[in-house]
């Protein structure tokens, strides 16, 4: 059925709440109100559809019942689309899709929060402990590959965390058992050690895949003592590039604590300073960037960048 324009008299209904969604509508002319009960307060809500706006989309996509009643307020014209026609219309117009995606993602975010606030037993364990417990589950069930993966992630995000010692011990054990892992399908080859090389990490970093690079840098720093210092440091830069300000600050602080005479001290301070900018702590940023300038080589890109940022932060 091709799209068609339908005229509605004031006070008529385009669809009732509970009707199965089969069509999508655009308000061409007039005024339509979407009436529904707010799921949290139970209050009756009225949203007005703007001319040119779609309505009924979610229910039609999933062929679910509508969760609102569409009431026509004044004499109006509405264009009715089948889901297929609507999809066709959208597929040539990514701007509309993106706009709708934004609306939907906002709704999803809101309802997610509401559901979470109602979950009493699912009270969130803190993320650090949660991540640790995922590793524990696999470790206890002798799924060593997954255990090692999960624990390695723990080290990435909590390099100075509460369970670090236990995690390191368990990684070592899990890695030694990984090849005899019964959770692995038999066909797969044992993982070649060459996979974790500095070269590969650098290549990933240079291609902009900082998460991929981060994983390998961490790995290298664990298995290859020769490259430990370098890999650890580069991992910190990746964390910074991933815009995880606080994590980057923690990471570099740990490095400097362990190596008070680190050869790349100036650079570390530079990244800590920049991370504070991500975290919007301009005062700390200024103090670290000031410190790093004197340690960095004159005229190197980091020093110039630091000077530039200091200038911008300057007067404030």
């Amino acid at each position: 059925m091709p799209p068609k324009a339908i005229s509605f008299k004031a006070n008529s209904i385009v669809y009732f709440k509970g009707d199965k969604g089969e069509n999508v509508y655009i308000l061409q002319k007039g005024q339509v109100s979407l009436n529904y009960l707010d799921i949290q307060t139970g209050q009756e809500m009225h949203d007005f559809v703007q001319t040119g706006e779609f309505f009924g989309v979610k229910a039609a996509f999933g062929r679910y019942p509508h969760d609102e009643t569409a009431v026509v307020m004044v004499d109006s014209t509405v264009i009715q689309f089948s889901v297929d026609d609507f999809e066709q219309l959208l597929s040539s117009n990514s701007r509309i899709i993106l706009k709708m995606l934004k609306v939907f993602s906002n709704q999803l975010r809101r309802i997610h929060k509401q559901v979470r606030s109602l979950m009493s037993v699912d009270e969130q364990v803190d993320a650090e402990k949660g991540l640790f417990s995922v590793g524990e589950y696999y470790f206890n069930n002798k799924k060593h590959l997954q255990a090692a993966d999960a624990f390695n992630r723990y080290l990435i995000y909590y390099p100075a965390g509460r369970f670090v010692d236990e995690v390191r011990r368990k990684i070592e054990y899990a890695e030694s058992r990984k090849d005899s892992d019964d959770s692995l399908p038999p066909a797969s080859d044992p993982p070649p050690k060459a996979e974790y090389t500095i070269e590969k990490a650098v290549a990933l970093r240079d291609s902009g895949n900082y998460l991929g690079a981060l994983k390998i840098f961490i790995k290298v720093s664990q298995i290859n003592p020769e490259h430990k210092l370098f890999a650890e440091f580069e991992a910190g830069i990746c964390i910074f590039k991933l815009k995880k300000g606080n994590e980057a600050i923690k990471h570099f602080t740990t490095i400097l604590k362990q190596n008070p005479a680190h050869s790349r001290m100036g650079e570390a301070l530079y990244y800590i300073g920049k991370s504070y900018i991500i975290e919007n702590d301009h005062e700390k940023a200024r103090s670290f960037l000031n410190k790093c300038s004197s340690l960095l080589e004159d005229g190197c890109p980091e020093q110039r960048d630091a000077a530039l940022i200091l200038e911008q932060l300057g007067g404030s």
């Binding site: 969760d67 990514s94 995606l101 559901v115 979950m119 206890n140 590959l145 993982p191 895949n209």
Partner: protein, 220 residues
């Protein structure tokens, strides 16, 4: 999926069978599109690992991270060698702009998620804990295609664990078991190791809607 994504090849990452792609609770801001292979979505409830879904080429996951800076809500494991495209927030915009089909798919996924979450919310707002458990069964049966002969009888078999039911109902597994025992003593359900049978789903429907309307009356 007939999409030319070769321009995105520099975002390709490969995972071996069994490898963890990301962990529940891990912070993360990337979104993944499966190019080849398969992944499973799992959640760990206490001492059991529950597979929530299995995803195939053309499907994606991790999209929640693009919306909010919340930790990952499930663990993703490659079940065979799997090639993925990994996008961060900025690349994601570019991907969506250039690939309306993918954006459209995501839009549909969001519609479904919004619907599911609203349904879940409805369950959690029930004050009567027995009605809450009964409503979980209603929700689970809504998503299923029921053969016509079972449809008439109203008997439903759920291959679901008590822990799962407890999770959906927002209560502890012990409380949930107590409620199921109660329903069992009324011969409304039968609980087995690997399945739960609801003798008459229509009975549960009436039960839930009467509790819900009582509750509404009390509130207004």
């Amino acid at each position: 999926m007939a999409l030319d994504l070769s321009v995105f090849n520099r975002f390709a990452v490969t995972f071996k069978a069994g490898a963890v792609i990301f962990c529940e609770y891990e912070p993360g801001d990337s979104f993944y599109l499966i190019q080849s292979g398969k992944v499973k979505i799992v959640k760990i409830f206490g001492a059991i690992e529950k597979t929530i879904d299995i995803l195939q080429p053309g499907e994606f996951f991790g999209e929640m991270a693009l919306l909010e800076e919340a930790p990952r809500s499930a663990t993703i494991i490659a079940t065979e060698e799997t090639k993925l495209l990994e996008f961060n927030r900025e690349n994601f915009q570019i991907l969506m702009q250039g690939n309306p089909q993918i954006a459209l798919k995501l839009l549909k996924l969001f519609s479904k998620r919004i619907y599911d979450q609203k349904r879940r919310f409805q369950i959690l707002t029930l004050e009567d804990v027995h009605a809450r458990v009964a409503d979980v069964f209603l929700m689970l049966s809504e998503g299923e295609d029921i053969p016509p002969d079972e449809e008439d009888q109203g008997m439903r078999t759920f291959h679901t664990s008590i822990d799962d039911i407890a999770h959906w109902a927002g209560m502890s597994p012990e409380d949930c078991r107590r409620i199921l025992d109660h329903f069992g003593s009324q011969r409304r359900v039968e609980v087995y190791d690997n399945r739960i049978i609801v003798k008459n789903i229509n009975d549960f429907k009436r039960f839930v809607s009467s509790r819900r309307s009582n509750q509404d009356k009390k509130e207004s």
